[in-house]
């Protein structure tokens, strides 16, 4: 009986793991094939290993525009996630630790922001940026990406649970200013939550596809998602692009994988402690 109890979850987890890993495996295999072998060999196992050639072609195509897209994605995503996390942390912390009129109202408004999908905001944002003639610029994608209502929510919950009021009192008595207290004491206590927020935010911006699609026309500003999508829509006319899209897709998940591997420890801690406290 005990064995059965352990076996069942393992089976479910195993199936789920397989389900999630097979597409990645397929992508890896597909990206390692040459164009004619891609159509003619079995999809889930390697043929001649020509990943290096594919990579070379990918990085050379269109004057190396793919590398530029990767760099853009890292800047949009990394920059927005870092700054966005800081903003969310400050906001959540302020909502948790200071009493001021309208506090709950602000919190509720921010909370309702969680319910509005980013997709629904893309078009209004485009019309607003059009008013300032700021579409098709770096800022038209970067600025809207800074906002993260869920991060504010998480930061508030976590700050009220993990930063004791007594500690802040003590800091004040010792003559530390509020800003200094926040950066030297509170952020350290909130660190696991900040990592969680950072990762959530990172993934959300990395995957936010509609905003750049609507805002950008300059190829040099594209994030990698939009760039690969553009290529993919041209596969009918320029079939050479298919292998580049596949190889590009493989390369484009590498930063995400790295981010997760490096931060997964914090990620789990953050989620777990958020749930308990």
């Amino acid at each position: 009986m005990k064995n059965v109890n352990r076996l069942a979850p393992m089976l479910v987890m195993g199936a789920a793991t397989l389900y999630f890993l097979v597409p990645i495996w397929w992508l890896l295999v597909a990206a390692s094939k040459s164009r004619d072998q891609f159509t003619s060999t079995t999809p889930l196992w390697f043929a001649d290993f020509s990943l290096a050639d594919n990579l070379k072609e990918l990085f050379a195509y269109g004057d190396g525009v793919f590398l530029r897209w990767m760099l853009n994605s890292v800047v949009y995503t990394g920059g927005a996630a870092l700054l966005g996390t800081l903003l969310a942390a400050m906001c959540g912390y302020a909502l948790a630790k200071y009493r001021f009129p309208g506090r709950e109202a602000i919190f509720n408004i921010v909370l309702s922001g969680v319910l509005v999908p980013a997709t629904a905001l893309a078009l209004p944002l485009f019309l607003i940026f059009s008013q300032f003639e700021a579409t098709n610029t770096f800022w038209s994608v970067f600025l809207p990406s800074l906002v993260n209502p869920f991060g504010v929510y998480l930061a508030r919950i976590y700050a009220s649970a993990s930063v004791p009021d007594e500690l802040l009192e003590a800091a004040r008595l010792d003559g530390s200013g509020e800003v200094r207290t926040f950066f030297t004491i509170s952020t350290k206590l909130m660190f696991p939550a900040l990592v969680t927020i950072f990762l959530f935010h990172f993934v959300a911006v990395w995957n936010n596809f509609l905003l750049p699609l609507i805002m950008l026309g300059e190829e040099k500003l594209f994030p990698v998602t939009l760039g690969l999508y553009s290529w993919n829509t041209q596969v009918n006319q320029i079939p050479e692009l298919r292998m580049l899209v596949l190889t590009g897709a493989l390369v484009s998940i590498v930063p995400l994988v790295i981010a997760f591997l490096l931060l997964q420890r914090f990620w789990r801690n953050g989620l777990g402690s958020g749930a308990i406290k």
Partner: protein
């Protein structure tokens, strides 16, 4: 509709003329105002998804320091760029020029998003340079209207596996009857004569176009939708017959499965457009040297009618401050030999001009097709496309509905004709929901 549109146009022009302080009473004044050269240096924006377009535009920019063109890009039209155009028109920051396929032009026109270039003398003078039907696609067959400069065309012909046809002693079909007969023999030899495009409705549209089907018409006030006219019905029944006898395969087009069907010799022919030559080359590399191109099979023996699949135009958007310069650039892009040569080299575009058919690159034998001068076949086909085929203003949704029905039909769920019937009803509903007048 035309009167109303004209009124809108005139009032829009009047507004434009007012802001520049002109007199709006005479129509002649309007005409001038709408296509007059701008003073000083001009920078135009041009949105297109043609790969390698930067290299073409660079040539123009070097020669025309006063009219600089800035390229913007994105996914293909239905992949998001058309939606972007509509958003940009709404926000008032549409580019000066945009890449619009023929079947999408009417949707931009009913939304009043395009500048009528009929006032530009250089544009109307260029009419004779273009293959007649491509001009029909941008004028909608009306007087005094030019809503874009034709760019490329997709005249259709029959790609077939020369080696397999010869080996099995099957004559190359010249009529659709012979094609059906050949299909039986191909089946007996263990293959399929072709793969029926179940989800890309454009191929079917090309077949219907050839047969004389005319899906849409606009009499100036109302749209007529006729997806089941006599000729389209004939085409639908013909292919339904092949599907019922299981003489054609039906793997989804533009997939690796589809490539594989051609690469491994399962499918022996493909009735496709000129750009299909490149699709076979890259999708079925193992069949190098085994293909040839013949004219499209005919409905009447000895006929000379071809269909068209694809093609696009360069349009000037409403709100462009420099229609004269924009038209000038669009004409250079789509008529000059240097630009057409580059467009063909970078993106395999097949020119819409008469002279374009004899570009050096299009006069050579192609190794993949056993050295055959395949583009000669398409050059002839291009002159055989009927000029009066009109697209509707809601093609995206029309395609989507038809595609759903066709997918059902190939798996034994209803027929192609049923699918067209549903598409007809849905299209009319859709037009009405957008307040576009429909004649019933």
């Amino acid at each position: 509709m035309r009167a109303a549109l004209g009124l809108v146009l005139v009032s829009a022009l009047a507004l434009g003329a007012c802001s520049s302080g002109g007199d709006t009473s005479a129509e002649g004044g309007d005409t001038k105002a709408s296509c007059a050269p701008s003073e000083g240096n001009v920078t135009l924006t041009y949105t297109t998804w043609i790969p390698g377009i930067e290299n073409v535009v660079k040539v123009w920019n070097e020669k025309n320091p006063n009219i600089q063109v800035k390229v913007q890009t994105g996914p293909n039209g239905n992949g998001g760029t058309y939606a972007n155009f509509f958003n940009q028109l709404k926000a008032g920051n549409a580019p000066d020029l945009g890449h619009i396929e023929y079947d999408a032009l009417p949707s931009f026109r009913v939304q009043d998003g395009l500048t009528n270039l009929a006032d530009c003398a250089e544009v109307t003078a260029a009419k004779d340079q273009f293959v007649d039907w491509t001009w029909g696609q941008v004028t909608f067959g009306e007087q005094n209207s030019v809503y874009g400069i034709p760019q490329d065309a997709g005249p259709m012909a029959l790609f077939y596996r020369k080696d397999l046809f010869e080996k099995n002693n099957i004559p190359v079909p010249a009529t659709w009857d012979e094609y059906a007969a050949a299909a039986e023999k191909v089946k007996a030899a263990g293959g399929y004569i072709t793969n029926f495009s179940q989800s890309d409705i454009n191929q079917f549209a090309g077949l219907a176009w050839q047969a004389g089907g005319r899906w849409f018409a606009n009499d100036g006030s109302k749209w007529t939708v006729n997806l089941q006219d006599e000729n389209t019905t004939k085409v639908a029944n013909y292919w339904q017959g092949l599907i019922d006898k299981k003489l054609v395969s039906a793997v989804p087009p533009w997939t690796t499965e589809w490539d594989n069907a051609y690469n491994t010799g399962q499918a022996w022919t493909w009735t496709s457009a000129v750009w299909g030559a490149n699709s076979i080359m890259s999708g079925a590399p193992a069949t190098k040297g085994k293909w040839a191109v013949a004219p499209m099979p005919q409905w009447t023996a000895g006929g000379t009618v071809a269909g068209n699949w694809g093609g696009s135009s360069t349009a000037v958007f409403k709100g462009s401050k420099h229609p004269y310069e924009a038209a000038k650039f669009a004409l250079w892009l789509n008529t000059s030999e240097e630009a057409l040569t580059l467009l063909n080299k970078e993106a395999q575009l097949y020119p819409a001009t008469k002279a374009g058919a004899s570009l050096p690159a299009l006069s050579e034998g192609v190794e993949f097709y056993g050295g055959q001068k395949i583009y000669d076949v398409f050059a002839t086909a291009s002159t055989q496309v009927a000029a009066d085929f009109v697209w509707g203003p809601t093609m995206t949704s029309t395609y989507a509905t038809a595609s759903d029905g066709f997918k059902g039909a190939v798996s034994g769920n209803g027929t192609l004709l049923d699918a067209l019937k549903t598409t007809q009803t849905k299209t009319i509903e859709n037009l009405k929901s957008q307040s576009i007048p429909v004649a019933e």
